[in-house]
Each structure stands twice: as structure tokens, then as C-alpha cells.
């Protein structure tokens, strides 16, 4: 059977759901978007326009949940790269929005730039383990204008041909996004059908839905753009001091947003994606490397599955600011538990220091952790072909299995994971090969991918249309 991890029982999931209904109906959520409050009020929620507190009845939560489609495929430009949710697969998504990078050529720690973002995006496209995009870092050298936003979209879709999840912060960008999407993916009906782009909404903990990002998303209503709902809380600071209550609060924030979105657009696809983290009690900062984060990440995957929703999980966090032994063990432990829980999408390789520092070399290491974790999930394979007592009898005491066809087949069957990364040779060969450090090997892989990978080009017609949009956007900047 497959390796099985479970951190919540069915009864505990039931109880978390019940407590969630209590929180939403008795405490409520502060909804700062007037449009959002209007949608919720129309759906039957109890809205206080003075305090912006919205109390949501259990019936409204249950009916909203029923409206969320369980059958969802996130589309992509590249043929064969569509992601069918709730289908037994798990793909990686890059971590998001670092503001600092460890320069891969100089080792210098410096603010991240457009070129860093572009390199991360291209590598994400090149590596098959990644199924979805999130911007690895901020382009701190670019001003926030609609001209630069359209430029960002061009380079994004021109260098990443799998599914894209990419929020924006102001409503005025929505129309530009829709124009670009139509050039690349076809008309409104095609976009509604294939879902090539999804958004990210992050309720603010505790129990708040903001105006700016939510209203930016609401400009896309009618296009059936899926939303990953990702509140990010800090246990002990912006959520209660226990894991189960942090899970309840995170679940409440997701459910509140589901109610708002279903009230706005019944049947809108959503992904269950809360990031439940713990505070470092010594400083009040994010305790990124703590094992509690991975336990809660597993719990959130289980809660998403409890509802039958598509799930984005989170892993690979560390407090360390550079690839190191500490980063290695923290990321391995924080990677394996949520991977065993098996979300549809797993965020997030590539960032260090509480997801503020980007390292392309670390991304390569994280992918190896993901592959190992996936393999750990395979568990002990007990297909008929794997019961080899006849081979044991044939070989007998004192023999060996090296020349057995069953051995040769097994190695290539998928049950064995034969890594092509890191040091796995004899001491003598390791010395003879120059004792190459892991970081050097990772840096070489990065350089190789950047030098040799060709992203999927736009057609000439698409480039021409995108030129026109960009020109207009720049005139509006």
C-alpha cells in the first residue's frame, strides 16, 4: 500500500467544520470591500455596514460549499500540461514574491530584479515537476505601471507555458489582463472553458477580507477565473496558540471567502489553500523552519479533501537565509509530510529565509526533496510481479540476484528511485571527480537549463497583437 499519513481523524474534521460554522455565525468576518458585503448581504448574510462585520449562517456556508465545482481542470498553453484537480496527481508550484535574491553568479545578496524573475520563470517552465507558476520574486527594478504589467504578462506567458496563478493588486489591471489572455488563449468562452489563469486571494488574519485585492479580482467576474484562497496566519500572533484552533480559523477565513465568491458568481471554481504557520515565540517573527508548519500543512490538505475541494499545499520552508545544512533538514522535513498528504498542487520550492530570499540553486535542491518525498509516498509496492519467492527459491542460500531479470525490471519499474543529483559514488571516485560540492552541481544545472531551454514561442500574429496592447498600456502609464 501507499505510505499513509493522517493528522486529523474524520471526527476531528467534523469538529473543525462545526467550530468553523460557529466562528462565522457568531464572530463573523470583517469584510472591507463594499462590493463583497453587497454580494454577501444579497446571499442572506447578516451585514453591519458600520463595522463591516459580516456574520454568515451555517446554511449559507453549506449552500456555498455545494456550489463549488469539484471537477476542475486548470488549463495551460502547452499541450498536455493541463492540471486536472482531484485526479490523484500532485505538481509543484514555485514559491512566491521574494524581494531579495542570492545572485547565482556572485553569491551576493541583493534586491531581486526583473531578470531574476525571468530566470526563475524559465527554469520553472523547463522542469517537468512544476505544473504551475507563481512569481518567484518581485521585480524591484520596475515601477508599478500598467505598461510594465502588460510587459510582465508578455514575458510570463512567453516563458511559462503551464498553468499560471498570478494575482494583481489593483482593479485597473484586470482589463489589460483580459486583453492579453484573449490574444493568447482565445475568446471569453475559451478562457471560461479552459481556465488558463487563476487568481490568488489572501484573507487577512484574523478574519478579515480586504478591499483592494478582492475588488481587483471582482473586476474579472464573468470570466470564471478560478481563485486559490490563501489566508496566511501566524499561530500565536494572528491565530490562536494551538494548532487545531489555527486550523479552525484558517478554515473559517477560506469558507468566508468561498461564501463571498459564490454569492458573486455561483459555481466559481476555487482552490483550498490556507497557509498555516507558527510564530517564533522568541521574536514574534515567522518561524519558517518549524515542524508545526508541515503538520498544519498536512492538516489543511486533509481539510480540503474533507470538503472534496482542489487543494494547494505548502512545504519547503526554512528560517535559513542561504542553502545550508539547516536549510536542508528543515526543508526535507517540511517537504515530506505535506507531500505524503498529497495536495493537487504543492507550493513552494526556491525561497529561503521565510520565503523572502530567492535561490535558484535551492530550487534545484527542493525539487530533489520533492522527488524523494513523492517516492516515499509510493510505499511498498505489492503488485503480483513484486512477490518474488520463486526467485528466492531459484537463487537459494548464498546466491545473489544481480543477474535476475526481475531485478533488472524492478530497477526500472518506478519502485526504485535512482537519483541523478548529489553524491552517490565511492569515496575514491568522489575524490577523483574533484569533490564537487552540491551547490556547484545545482548551479551547473541552473546554468544548463538557462542556456539550453527554449520556451514555447508566440505566433507572429500573437506578437503583433501583444505589441499593440503594450503600446496602449504604456500610453496609459
Amino acid at each position: 500500500m501507499k505510505t499513509h499519513l493522517q493528522v486529523l481523524s474524520k471526527e476531528e474534521c467534523d469538529k473543525i467544520h462545526e467550530r468553523t460554522l460557529y466562528v462565522l455565525s457568531h464572530v463573523g468576518v470583517k469584510v472591507d470591500t463594499a462590493k463583497g458585503r453587497a454580494f454577501l448581504k444579497k446571499a442572506g448574510a447578516d451585514v453591519d455596514e458600520n463595522t463591516h462585520i459580516v456574520k454568515i449562517s451555517p446554511d449559507l456556508v453549506e449552500s456555498s460549499l455545494k456550489q463549488v465545482p469539484r471537477d476542475l481542470t486548470l488549463g495551460a498553453r502547452r499541450s498536455g500540461a493541463d492540471l486536472k484537480m482531484n485526479n490523484g496527481n500532485c505538481v509543484l508550484c514555485m514559491d512566491g514574491e521574494a524581494s531579495v535574491i542570492i545572485d547565482r553568479k556572485t553569491g551576493e545578496r541583493r534586491p531581486s530584479t526583473f531578470n531574476d524573475w525571468l530566470e526563475g520563470t524559465r527554469i520553472g517552465d523547463a522542469i517537468d515537476d512544476f505544473g504551475m507558476y507563481w512569481g518567484l520574486c518581485e521585480a524591484t527594478d520596475k515601477e508599478d505601471t500598467v505598461g510594465n504589467y502588460v510587459n510582465h504578462l508578455r514575458y510570463l506567458f512567453g516563458n511559462f507555458s503551464k498553468h499560471v496563478q498570478d494575482p494583481f493588486d489593483t482593479a485597473d489591471k484586470a482589463l489589460w489582463l483580459l486583453e492579453v489572455l484573449q490574444v493568447i488563449f482565445g475568446d471569453k468562452e475559451a478562457i471560461k472553458k479552459h481556465h488558463p489563469f487563476s487568481f490568488l486571494l489572501c484573507p487577512q488574519s484574523p478574519l478579515m477580507i480586504d478591499e483592494q485585492y478582492t475588488d481587483a479580482y471582482l473586476e474579472l467576474l464573468g470570466w470564471d477565473i478560478p481563485v486559490a484562497i490563501m489566508p496566511m496566519m501566524l499561530m500565536g500572533a494572528t491565530s490562536p496558540g494551538s494548532m487545531v484552533s489555527t486550523i479552525v480559523q484558517g478554515n473559517s477565513e477560506v469558507m468566508a471567502m468561498i461564501c463571498l465568491l459564490q454569492a458573486a458568481s455561483p459555481g466559481l471554481p476555487v482552490l483550498y489553500a490556507p497557509i498555516l504557520s507558527i510564530m517564533d515565540p522568541r521574536t514574534g517573527r515567522l518561524y519558517a523552519g518549524a515542524i508545526e508548519n508541515s503538520i498544519m500543512s498536512s492538516a489543511q490538505v486533509e481539510m480540503g479533501r474533507y470538503y472534496g475541494l482542489p487543494v494547494e499545499g505548502t512545504a519547503y520552508n526554512t528560517d535559513q537565509y542561504e542553502p545550508s545544512i539547516q536549510a536542508g533538514y528543515e526543508r526535507a522535513l517540511n517537504g515530506i509530510l505535506p507531500t505524503l498528504s498529497w495536495p493537487d498542487i504543492m507550493i513552494a520550492p526556491g525561497l529561503l529565509g521565510g520565503s523572502m530570499v530567492m535561490s535558484l540553486e535551492q530550487m534545484i535542491i527542493d525539487i530533489e526533496i520533492f522527488r524523494l518525498s513523492k517516492h516515499a509516498r509510493r510505499g511498498v509496492v505489492t503488485d503480483d510481479d513484486n512477490w518474488l519467492e520463486d526467485v528466492i527459491a531459484k537463487t537459494g542460500p548464498g546466491g545473489n540476484y544481480l543477474m535476475e531479470m526481475s531485478t533488472a525490471k524492478a530497477i526500472r519499474s518506478g519502485e526504485w528511485y535512482v537519483s541523478d543529483f548529489g553524491m552517490h559514488d565511492s569515496y575514491e571516485n568522489w575524490i577523483a571527480a574533484g569533490k564537487k560540492p552540491l551547490m556547484e552541481e545545482a548551479a551547473e544545472k541552473v546554468a544548463d537549463l538557462l542556456n539550453n531551454y527554449e520556451p514555447m514561442p508566440f505566433t507572429d500574429d500573437q506578437n503583433g497583437e501583444l505589441d499593440k496592447i503594450q503600446k496602449r498600456a504604456e500610453q496609459n502609464s
Partner: protein
């Protein structure tokens, strides 16, 4: 009853008892500065010391600060008549466009616990509002927080407003994407990566008597 009891109550976070303990000392005629220096602030200095040694965690530090604050309210009306004065006035808030206030709140509570007077402008604060509050209150320090890289430029605007006007107020910044290099770039007087560091920074920029 004694000032030592006040000191102990703060160290043990007994916020329901502190008001009676302080009131009893006031009623007994104990000097206000004695209650303040050796009871309330003295206790917080001890708490700060334990925190610095890793013996206390942030929530415990904050509960001590909350206990101290409750005791301080008892004697606040009497302070104007005494020779005592707070360590300094700090204007604090998250910058324009930024609604993430947990770090700011932590810093505010810990600074208050350390004896500073806090004027909390809340979230999404315009640069001009920082300037106006600093000027109006003759503040020794303005502390600004940002969680988003997109809101960080508002820090530079506030620093420029206050520096250009020649106010003596020191400017300090913090928040996840903020760095010492950024503080240097915008000519802020200091940066801290976390709330305990912000208290040390404030103490270094505004030395007590």
C-alpha cells in the same frame, strides 16, 4: 504590601491584581517615582533582561507589558504632579497602502512596556500624518512598518518630510521585506528585524536620563 509586590506581579503577569497593588501603594503615601521606577518600569527592565537571555517568550513579555500598563493607568493622573517623565514619545503605524499590523502592534506594546509613550496611528498611514503627529507631539521617534515591497516607498516619503522640515525626530523602520540597506538608502535612523530589536534600537536612539 510593597513596591516589590508590584514588581513581582508584573513578572508573573498578574494583570487582575496589579491595579489594587498600585492603588494600595499610592494610598500608603509611597512616592510616585518610587512606584514607577522600582515597581513598574523596574519590573519591565527585569522582564526585558529575562527576555534578552531567552528565558521569556514574546507573549509572556507582552502580558507583562499589559500588566505594567494597567498599573501605570492608576498613577498616570499623578505623574504630572511628580518629577517623573516617560522615556520618550513614539509615533507608530504601518505605511500608506499597508494593512498588515501584527508586527507594528508587537513593537508598540513592547515599546510601551519599556516605558515609552506610544501614539499609534494604526494602519495605512499617510506620510503627512506621520509628520503631523511627530510635530504635534514633539515625538522623539517615528516607527514605520511595511510588509509589502510596494508600500515601502511611503517610508522614504515620510522620512524626507520630517528630515526636510528639520524636526529632531528619529525615524526607524521595519517589516519583513525591509532591510538595513534600505534604511540607509532612505536615510532612516535605524532598522530592526524584529520587535525586541526595535526596543533596543529605541533605547539606543533615545537614551534615558
Amino acid at each position: 504590601m510593597s513596591v516589590q509586590d508590584i514588581f513581582n506581579a508584573i513578572n508573573e503577569f498578574r494583570d487582575t491584581e496589579i491595579v489594587n497593588l498600585v492603588q494600595a501603594e499610592v494610598d500608603a503615601g509611597t512616592d510616585i517615582s518610587e512606584i514607577l521606577d522600582n515597581g513598574l518600569i523596574g519590573a519591565m527592565d527585569e522582564v526585558g533582561k529575562k527576555f534578552g537571555e531567552g528565558l521569556l517568550f514574546v507573549p509572556e513579555m507582552l502580558m507583562a507589558a499589559q500588566t505594567m500598563k494597567a498599573g501605570l493607568e492608576v498613577i498616570r493622573p499623578l505623574l504630572a504632579d511628580s518629577d517623573t517623565k516617560p522615556r520618550g514619545t513614539v509615533i507608530i503605524g504601518t505605511v500608506k497602502g499597508d494593512l498588515h499590523d501584527i508586527g507594528k502592534n508587537l513593537v508598540a506594546m513592547m515599546l510601551e512596556g519599556a516605558g515609552f509613550t506610544i501614539i499609534d496611528l494604526g494602519v495605512d498611514v499617510e506620510p503627512q500624518a506621520f509628520f503631523d503627529a511627530a510635530k504635534e507631539n514633539s515625538a522623539e521617534l517615528v516607527a514605520m512598518s511595511a510588509l509589502l515591497t510596494t508600500t515601502m516607498p511611503a517610508m522614504e516619503e515620510a522620512v524626507k518630510l520630517i528630515k526636510d522640515a528639520g524636526l529632531p525626530t528619529k525615524m526607524v523602520i521595519g517589516g519583513a521585506p525591509v532591510t538595513q540597506a534600505y534604511a540607509d538608502k532612505i536615510s532612516a535612523d535605524g532598522y530592526s528585524a524584529d520587535a525586541p530589536g526595535a526596543v533596543e534600537l529605541a533605547r539606543s536612539l533615545i537614551p534615558g536620563d
